[in-house]
């Protein structure tokens, strides 16, 4: 035997062992797995939604509705302002983006001047002005529409994540795909589908609420806590910048959000939250963000229930820097909003104002002075500047899109019950078995020894495929199984092409060894080209498809690659075992 054959033997052997190792987490149940695997091989094939059961939702952000209601509001605002000067004005809305301001007396047009439009310069463009007819057409700025879309998408993903987390779904996927949001919730109970759908689909609300500090209620609540429980009470103090007055407060903190939420929801009797107050949570992560952060915790704020101002009154929000060069958020309120904000903040200087997105506190800065049209939110904490910068960006996104509540519109929905999935798996397995048996028998009868090699290569192909899928933690979908079955049929194709070629060479009178050599060599490019075209189709499929179809494309692509390996190189290596030995070349080849 040539030395290179042994090298290959070692290489292929290692590949098989590695593949088997990768398969263990998928095949062996967790409790029976040796400790070795728990440390090194944990990745396993996930079942797709269609097999495991669950909910797959695709939402698009309804920009049209958001923009149209914003322009509605702007047109009311403008009408009110002009009416203060002259009653002779009508503002008509046209389409999604346009409003037409018209005066019976064309001279009234002078009212619509740069001064009037100044507060709206970010939002509205003047499209045309007809002095004779006394009309002017204003249009919502297209750049703002694009901006709204992007921000609304970001905010929507953020809110959906928050809502889903609250529900305690094991492994939710919430991703952006183009302008859509794809939500996958595997393993969800069917009875929960309706509830979670309605929760996810709701439009996010942005509110500013005042934090009620130093209350007797919080002290009472803190005193009632068990000493060694998971929920701790913690005092905090801060000083008013201008008057120097001290503020004292107590809050509850816990690492376990669900525990804290449950505790808050369970408060009753003496300790019930006052009817005009609410206890809301904020996630605090002093250092790293993300689930793994060790010192992340949740804290409470006692809020006045009635929202002082809502996000719709915001005109603009931007990331800027304070005198110290620290990042901060500056925002501008619209006319109506600035009056309300002035009242709210004027009464509560020194207190904290919570910015609440969808019942979750995003930030709760101290009100340092009365805020009118313009306000600034300084980011607290001494975290690293990059993180601070990121926080500022996030808050700006929340504020800006909060100014325009963009409803979510559901465009796709698939819900699969768990039993359905199991039934599909069973049937697919059975059809796979039948197909595989048919192919294996055919190959054995038709090509005998060589058929056996092809079958062995096919089994290895399957092994490698599943191992690769496991290594990538790919999810197996129903079409994905179809891809696996299909690969059984296609796996032997390359071998058939090669074997037919070898037979041809043999018929021309060549010796088995030269025939095998020539067969593999000549058929290689045919097989290679065939694989490439299949691969191209697979890639197109992957980029076009969504969800289950992608699963199919992935199995197809993986199958093509591992098929090339097993049916060309590994079966060649097995042939070498028969014909490659020096001296004892068989006279006939079992093919």
């Amino acid at each position: 035997m040539e030395r290179s054959w042994w090298w290959k033997a070692v290489l292929y052997g290692c590949a098989v062992i590695l593949a088997c190792l990768y398969l263990v987490p998928t095949v062996v149940p967790e409790e029976k797995r040796p400790a070795f695997f728990k440390d090194h091989f944990t990745k396993r094939i996930q079942l797709g939604l269609d097999l495991q059961g669950g909910l797959h939702l695709v939402y698009e952000v309804n920009i049209d509705k958001a923009v149209s209601s914003k322009v509605d509001r702007l047109s009311n605002d403008i009408e009110d302002t002009i009416k203060k000067k002259t009653a002779d004005v009508t503002v008509a809305r046209e389409g999604r983006d346009d409003m037409v301001v018209s005066f019976k007396n064309p001279a009234g047009l002078a009212n619509v001047d740069a001064d009037l439009l100044k507060p709206y310069r970010h939002d509205l463009d003047e499209v045309s002005r007809d002095a004779a007819a006394g009309t002017v057409r204003l249009r919502y700025d297209p750049d703002r529409v694009a901006e709204v879309e992007e921000l609304a998408l970001r905010q929507a993903i953020e809110t959906i994540r928050g809502r889903v987390d609250k529900f305690g779904v094991a492994e939710p996927t919430i991703i952006k795909k183009g302008t859509d949001i794809v939500v996958e919730l595997p393993g969800l109970k069917q009875s929960d589908f309706e509830r979670i759908k309605s929760i996810i689909g709701r439009t996010a609300q942005l509110e500013f609420k005042i934090v009620d500090d130093g209350t007797e209620y919080m002290k009472k609540l803190a005193a009632s806590l068990p000493k060694e429980g998971p929920i701790k009470a913690e005092p905090e103090t801060w000083t008013e910048k201008h008057s120097g007055a001290q503020h004292e407060d107590v809050f509850l903190r816990s690492k376990d959000r669900q525990g804290l939420e449950k505790f808050v929801a369970g408060l009753a009797g003496e300790l019930a939250v006052p009817p005009d107050r609410e206890l809301a949570l904020e996630e605090i992560s002093p250092r790293e963000s993300g689930e793994a952060a060790p010192d992340k915790f949740y804290r409470t704020y006692l809020l006045k229930k009635r929202a002082g101002v809502t996000g719709e009154y915001l005109a603009m929000a931007d990331a800027t820097w304070d005198e110290m060069g620290r990042p901060e958020v500056s925002f501008t309120m619209n006319r109506q909003g600035s009056d309300m904000m002035e009242k709210l903040t004027g009464e509560n200087v020194g207190r904290k104002m919570a910015i609440v997105l969808d019942d979750k506190i995003t930030s709760a800065p101290v009100i340092e002075s009365k805020i009118g049209e313009r306000g600034r939110i300084t980011m607290g904490g001494y975290g690293d500047p990059f993180k601070l910068q990121q926080e500022v960006k996030d808050l700006v996104a929340v504020l800006r899109s909060g100014a325009l509540p963009a409803p979510l519109k559901k465009s796709f929905e698939t819900q699969v019950g768990a039993t359905m999935g199991q039934d599909s798996i069973d049937k697919a397995k059975f059809s796979m078995l039948i197909g595989a048996v048919a192919v294996v028998l055919f190959m054995l009868i038709y090509y005998r020894m060589a058929g056996f090699i092809a079958n062995l290569a096919m089994v290895l192909n399957m092994l490698f495929m599943v191992a690769i899928l496991a290594a990538f933690e790919a999810s197996l979908t129903l079409p994905g199984i179809a891809g696996l079955v299909l690969t059984i049929g296609m796996a032997v194709d390359s071998n058939i092409i090669i074997y037919e070629r070898i037979r041809e060479e043999l018929r021309q009178g060549k010796s088995p060894r030269t025939a095998v050599d020539a067969g593999f060599q000549r058929a290689f490019w045919t097989v290679f080209d065939a694989h490439v075209t299949n691969f191209v189709a697979g890639i197109v499929l992957y980029s076009y498809g969504s969800g289950p179809i992608r699963g199919f494309a992935v199995t197809l692509l993986v199958g093509i690659v591992s098929n090339l390996l097993t049916s060309v190189w590994i079966s060649r290596w097995m042939f070498d075992l028969i014909v490659g030995r020096r001296g004892s070349v068989p006279v006939t080849l079992s093919i």
């Binding site: 509001r73 689909g201 796709f412 929905e413 296609m490």
Partner: protein, 419 residues
């Protein structure tokens, strides 16, 4: 020494069928089948009343809702349809669900509805009238877009969301728990109502007509908005053409340009005839079917490559022979592998078609058809076009050569073959 070795053969090595000589019959057959396909589409859409669409688009393309319902006892499809129509669902499509093996025993049905939301435009008008007054608030604006799952309702003063939800229920429209919330600034008095899912209404309708508890479970629901469906259709066609283009570019690069056009025609032929099979049988044409067609294109191409490879090899070996004879010979030589490779895939997909369920079956049916037409097209479509192009090419070369201009340098295997 081994020349007289016997093999188990289905197709004997000496086979010499005249494929090219009889090509006009084969091409004629293909054209006829393509015509049938193209005729079938308008016939389905306009002539056959029970069909009504060019293809039996699945919900992914058509938009709508597909619900699988499991019943506790045998139920008649007609009764289900009547129960749904009574509730106001238009043209419900009701078919038995499950694999061919268990059709007899299972009580599952697949219900397909054109609507995505429980509220039809007519119903929306009724609800709007019913909501004219809620408490002492007067309705100012009622916004509902067809196919949406939300309604926006504006009043002249604040309304309690629970009262609004109750008013909606009285009007015959159910919202989800906490399904009504304020939308926009408080003084807008606008409320967003999220409607219940289709499956709840379908279950209610069926239980009401067929007796409570008849519906045991609803194991699967999928719904697609009409707009999204249209986009998917376009994307699908784009993906199909993109795949064909990429494959042809690869072939032109690996072989030479004469081999390109034949493959385009062959691939289009395969895709169209598979669609034709779905038009004739009126089986559901879904996203999975499209995935199958893309797979078929890749697969049919590998079949064509086997033949083309041999043509190229023989063309440089037998340069004294007429090109069409070389092609015919190559087809015969590769006939056994063409048929064997197709057969293995065909049998595997046939097993899926018989024993699988749901999407697997649809996928397998498409593959069954595709494997047959794919094999056929590599022999009878791609090769004749190659011969025809080669003739044109050779004629052009001769004209070139007649002039004293420089001849382009070519690799030997690409040398044109005299006809």
């Amino acid at each position: 020494m081994a020349a007289n070795q016997k093999f188990f053969e289905v197709i004997k090595p000496g086979i010499d069928l005249d494929f090219i000589g009889t090509q006009k019959y084969w091409i004629g057959t293909s054209i006829t089948l393509l015509l049938v396909t193209f005729l079938m589409l308008p016939i389905n859409a306009y002539v056959i009343k029970s069909r009504g669409h060019a293809l039996n688009w699945g919900v992914d393309f058509r938009g709508g809702t597909e619900i699988v319902v499991d019943f506790s006892k045998p139920v008649d499809a007609g009764a289900i349809r009547a129960a749904l129509e009574a509730k106001g669902f238009e043209n419900p499509d009701v078919v038995k669900y499950g694999s061919a093996m268990e059709r007899g025993s299972s009580n599952a049905f697949m219900i397909r509805l054109g609507a995505v939301s429980v509220m039809s435009p007519e119903q929306a008008k009724k609800v709007e009238v019913a909501l004219a007054r809620v408490g002492d608030a007067i309705l100012k604006k009622f916004e509902f877009s067809e196919g949406g799952d939300k309604v926006y309702i504006r009043f002249d003063k604040a309304v309690d969301p629970t009262a609004l939800a109750a008013a909606l229920r009285v009007a015959g429209t159910n919202t989800t728990d906490k399904g009504v919330q304020q939308f926009g600034p408080p003084q807008d008095h606008t409320y967003e109502a999220t409607l219940v899912g289709m499956e709840s209404e379908v279950r209610a309708a069926l239980d009401a007509k067929l007796g409570a508890g008849t519906v045991t479970s609803i194991p699967q629901v999928s719904s697609v908005g009409a707009k999204a469906g249209k986009e998917l259709q376009l994307d699908g066609i784009r993906a199909l053409l993109g795949a064909i283009l990429l494959i042809v570019v690869y072939i032109a690069f690996r072989f030479d340009f004469r081999y390109g056009p034949g493959t385009i025609v062959a691939l289009l032929h395969d895709a169209l005839l598979t669609v034709g099979a779905f038009a004739i049988t009126y089986k559901e044409f879904s996203l999975t079917t499209l995935a199958a067609i893309l797979t078929i294109i890749g697969y049919s191409m590998s079949d064509t490559i086997v033949v083309f490879d041999r043509i190229r090899e023989n063309a440089s070996r037998y340069r004294d022979r007429a090109f069409d004879r070389v092609v015919n010979h190559a087809i015969n030589e590769t006939l056994s592998r063409t048929i064997l490779t197709s057969a293995t895939v065909f049998f595997v997909t046939l097993a899926m078609n018989i024993f699988g369920s749901g999407v697997i079956r649809d996928f397998a049916f498409a593959m069954n058809v595709g494997v047959i037409v794919g094999t056929y097209s590599s022999i009878f479509i791609a090769s004749p076009i190659l011969i025809w192009l080669n003739e044109k090419y050779v004629a052009a070369q001769k004209r070139q050569a007649a002039r004293p201009a420089r001849r382009p340098v070519r690799r030997e295997e690409e040398e044109p073959v005299e006809t």
